[in-house]
């Protein structure tokens, strides 16, 4: 069940990423609220706040924090365009960094994070947790 749900979330995210990419290509990125990746980005959502920071070195570092409890199981995926560049499952809130080599200029970086707390409640990151690689 969890796997089916995860795949459904990933499918919706993939569609969002694809549409975002098309809209960006068409020059309407601002209309969907996607900004260029930069410092101190934040996307509050049901699964907590996703934060990301494009460092001067070119690495994109990110993390997520729940509003109340970071325990439970977390599943995190990071896409650049349709290409998944990170995935992790762990029992505390995740963080990571994306190598500049994997940040292709003009592509959409998209974070998809799912949290199941110790009570079994499931929550998801903001579907708009995305930015465009400058």
């Amino acid at each position: 069940m969890t796997r089916m749900l995860r795949r459904a979330v990933m499918f919706v995210s993939a569609v969002t990423v694809a549409l975002g990419g098309m809209m960006f290509t068409a020059g309407t990125a601002n209309a969907i609220g996607v900004h260029t990746c930069g410092p101190n980005m934040q996307w509050p959502g049901n699964a907590g706040v996703v934060r990301a920071d494009l460092l001067p070195s070119g690495f994109l570092v990110w993390d997520v924090r729940d509003y109340t409890d970071d325990h439970g199981m977390w599943v995190a995926d990071v896409f650049v365009g349709k290409r998944r560049v990170d995935h992790k499952e762990q029992a505390y809130n995740p963080h990571g960094r994306i190598n500049p080599v994997d940040l292709r200029k003009g592509y959409l970086v998209h974070f998809v994070i799912q949290h199941t707390d110790i009570e079994g409640r499931m929550s998801f990151s903001d579907p708009n947790a995305s930015c465009i690689v400058p």
């Binding site: 690495f59 349709k82 290409r83 998944r84 560049v85 990170d86 995935h87 992790k88 499952e89 762990q90 029992a91 505390y92 963080h95 990571g96 960094r97 190598n99 080599v101 994997d102």
Partner: protein, 126 residues
């Protein structure tokens, strides 16, 4: 040994990481995922090895293998540092993981290209 599938890739990377992780940590492959445990307890897992069989990028195996390796190394590194509260590998800061494919061989390391802190056993992608 040439690597043909994502479970093989996961197994080969897990074996190489298991050779270098600090005592108490175990890296193993399970159903195509690379999984880290500490003193027998689950810490984290990643199925990034799937990228080597990415159906939309069949012609981009070198780049996909390098990306998957970087992600797997980065995850294992972060999990170890989160558990021990010390940087790994090295002692001062977290050296960035990196990987490169040249002549069908995947090289993986932590640190700058000209200042590698830890080098993993190369992997023949066949």
């Amino acid at each position: 040994m040439p690597v043909a599938s994502s479970p093989d890739f996961a197994a080969e990377l897990a074996a190489r990481l298991n050779e270098v992780v600090p005592a108490g940590f175990t890296v193993a492959a399970e159903n195509g995922s690379v999984r880290l445990s500490h003193d027998g307890r689950f810490v984290g897992s990643t199925d990034m090895a799937e990228l080597v069989e990415d159906s939309e990028n069949f012609d981009d195996l070198p780049a996909n293998a390098a990306t998957a390796a970087r992600a797997i190394l980065s995850n294992v590194q972060d999990w170890i540092a989160d558990i021990t509260h010390d940087p790994w590998p090295g002692t001062r800061s977290l050296p960035n993981p990196d990987a490169r494919v040249q002549d069908h061989v995947l090289d993986m390391w932590f640190g700058d290209n000209d200042g590698r802190v830890l080098i993993l056993r190369p992997l023949d992608l066949g």
